[in-house]
């Protein structure tokens, strides 16, 4: 059974159809890249998978390990292993990062019927992961993403990914706003999470990120549809010829 199956998905926002009968299948262990110009519907797809309110699914379905994902609340999806790394991680003043991480991790564990992490185990785990991502301890004491640079915010997303150990990671424009060094650190963090029982979907406008996170499959989106799928060489092809050819195809 595939990990994620998006079947003929059509989605509207404010009376405007953004996705048109889109289909996508992702298996465990695979890394997929979804590329496409601005406005092609990439971020909408990631939001709908994560359960963001404000989108109207007019037809089609999303199955996660065969279960109807669209029938679940966002927190139920998270507990089952769906993780969206946000393009613009929000700042939450007054909620200390450490407290947020523990609350979220234990909420997910509780929903799965697992025991909550003890404080020493939790702290040990966070410190290990933070160290590998070059995240200083004092950042963890601050409010979630408050005063973080763009690169720090993205690393904080990857820190959560490493901590929650989701089955499906969707990275929405992870490279936006990152300089080359920050991008490398973030990509190393993602690569460390590649595993036979985890799938990663990288959403990006630029091929650059795929030099660091090398995908197994590349899909090109245009105007709400997947217009072409292929191997990693498709990304290089796009870098040469641009998206214009697909604008017409859609």
């Amino acid at each position: 059974m595939p990990l994620l199956e998006v079947k003929d998905l059509s989605v509207r926002v404010d009376e405007r159809e953004i996705l048109h009968a889109l289909s996508l299948t992702v298996n465990e262990g695979e890394v997929h890249a979804i590329m496409g110009p601005n406005g092609s519907g990439k971020s909408t797809l990631s939001h709908v998978i994560a359960g963001k309110p404000g989108y109207e699914v007019t037809s089609g379905q999303i199955l996660f390990r065969g279960e109807d994902l669209l029938a679940m609340e966002p927190d139920e999806r998270a507990a089952r292993g769906v993780f969206l790394a946000f393009q613009y991680p929000v700042e939450i003043p007054g909620v200390a990062t450490m407290n947020f991480l523990r609350t979220a991790l234990n909420a997910q564990r509780k929903a799965r019927g697992e025991s909550e992490f003890s404080t020493p185990d939790f702290l040990k785990k966070v410190r290990e992961v933070a160290k590998s991502l070059n995240i200083p301890q004092d950042m963890l004491r601050r409010g979630v993403n408050v005063g973080f640079s763009g690169g720090e915010k993205k690393r904080n997303e990857i820190l959560q990914m490493a901590l929650f150990e989701p089955a499906l990671c969707i990275l929405d424009e992870m490279d936006s706003g990152l300089d080359i060094d920050a991008l490398r650190i973030a990509a190393d963090g993602v690569n460390a999470l590649r595993s036979p029982d985890r799938a990663i979907v990288v959403i990006t406008h630029y091929q650059r990120l795929l030099n660091y996170i090398v995908p197994d499959f590349v899909h090109v989106m245009s105007r709400g549809r997947v217009v072409k799928s292929g191997g990693k060489e498709l990304a290089l092809e796009l870098e040469e010829s641009g998206y214009a050819q697909f604008e017409d195809a859609a």
Partner: protein, 435 residues
């Protein structure tokens, strides 16, 4: 003409009878009785505040409470037993409690604070003829009413240069039904003294439909530091109107924190005069209101001398049909150059019918000052909620975490860790009881 006519309405006459009946039971004779009569006449001239009095525009007591209830009888042994349970439930770990039950100081429920604090009662002072303790500000009807009818209160004095090791918590327990409790507390903080004082307002089991009319008269001497925390946890059908008259000396520091989660109708009006140079004032407030609660915090901060700083941070969480009011006036007198005064208020509206009114006023008569105010009101941010839910928090838990953070911005100003945690705990319990 209109005001005179209004004072003679049914409400005015009812209170008139109230004073006539209560008089016999009020401590003090001679000059004290005279001071009460003057205060009552001042109250009668103004009558119960209503919406056409600018300062009471959002809190129309004539509409909200209609009348001042008759003065409560002194508590009996059974009432004091009921109060014991409330004291146990509301005492803050690590503090020395002083307990007033239905407006009467009760030594057997109270602790003995540190030796640097001298504790007495208003009752014994008034019986001894200290009529100046009832000097009323004739400009506000509720302060006059309080002077006319106060039965008792705590007289607290902290010696020069001394530091209270434990906070003092005055617990006002109501056991009454359909009656008014009228108290007046005096705190004098000596030169360079340091203290934390908490005032809690709580109901005993069975207390119902009561009114608390309290006043707090504070003087903070030069170089002294005071942390004052007020926790209004009255029963959901009660009324609490408290006036604070606070004067601060030079190079002193006052941190005032008010949290209102109880009471059907409540108003805290604080009149704070910065009368010595180089002092720092911070006033932080939280309203946690639901159902049809009405909670009003009104502050008048008067900068009369140069070089003082005032900061006001106010957070309101308003659910259901509740109504939160914040009025902040900063006065900068002509001599008060280099004044730095700011207020910032935010309201979180959790339902479509919830209401928050905010009225900042700056009256600046000096030219070299920094003053400002900012206000926002709105719902919880959907993007923050979704972020938390995408990380596994249920809708209720995500809301609670954000509300807690919102409230925390005001609570974090409480310097004493034990007090801060106790206050945060109260807020958390309110959140848990919400759904």
């Amino acid at each position: 003409m209109m005001n005179v006519a209004l004072a003679k309405t049914e409400t005015g006459r009812a209170t008139d009878r109230l004073f006539a009946v209560a008089r016999e039971r009020l401590p003090g004779s001679g000059k004290v009785a005279e001071a009460r009569r003057h205060a009552f006449e001042a109250y009668e001239r103004l009558g119960l505040p209503h919406r056409r009095i600018e300062e009471w525009k959002y809190t129309d007591l004539r509409a909200l409470i209609r009348e001042v209830l008759p003065l409560v009888a002194a508590p009996e042994a059974a009432d004091i037993e009921r109060a014991r349970g409330a004291v146990k439930a509301h005492r803050i770990e690590g503090s020395a409690v002083l307990v007033l039950v239905d407006g009467v100081f009760v030594p057997e429920l109270s602790d003995t604070p540190d030796s640097s604090a001298s504790v007495g009662t208003l009752r014994e002072q008034l019986e001894g003829g200290a009529s100046d303790l009832l000097d009323a500000d004739a400009l506000d009807a509720m302060i006059s009413l309080n002077a006319a009818l106060a039965t008792d209160g705590v007289m607290l004095s902290i010696a020069d240069g001394s530091k209270l090791a434990r906070p003092i918590q005055i617990i006002h327990v109501a056991t009454a039904t359909s009656a008014s409790i009228v108290t007046r507390t005096h705190l004098r903080l000596g030169r360079a003294a340091r203290a934390s004082l908490v005032e809690s307002y709580v109901p005993a089991d069975g207390a119902k439909d009561y009114q608390t009319h309290d006043a707090l008269i504070v003087s903070v001497a030069d170089e002294a530091e005071l942390s004052l925390v007020r926790l209004v946890e009255d029963s959901a059908d009660a009324v609490n109107v408290t006036s604070g008259l606070i004067s601060v000396g030079a190079k002193a520091k006052l941190d005032l924190f008010n949290m209102t989660s109880g009471g059907a109708v409540s108003r805290f009006q604080g009149f704070i005069t910065l009368g010595g140079e180089g002092s720092q004032l911070s006033v932080n407030g939280v309203n946690l209101l639901k159902g049809s609660q009405h909670g009003d915090t009104t502050l008048v901060v008067d900068h009369t001398v140069p070089g003082c700083t005032s900061r006001e941070v106010f957070r309101a969480v308003v659910d259901d049909r509740a109504h939160s009011v914040f009025q902040g006036r900063i006065i900068v007198r002509p001599d008060a150059q280099k004044t730095d005064g700011k207020m910032e208020t935010r309201a979180l509206l959790l339902s479509d019918e919830a209401e928050a009114d905010n009225k900042p006023e700056l009256e600046i008569f000096a030219d070299d000052v920094t003053c400002g105010h900012g206000a926002t009101a709105g719902a919880l941010d959907d993007n923050l909620l979704f972020y938390l839910r995408a990380r596994g928090l249920s809708e209720k838990d995500a809301q609670a975490l954000l509300i807690q953070a919102f409230v925390g911005e005001a609570v974090e100003a409480i310097a004493d860790e034990g007090l801060r945690e106790a206050v945060m705990g109260l807020a958390q319990r309110w959140l848990e009881a919400r759904s």
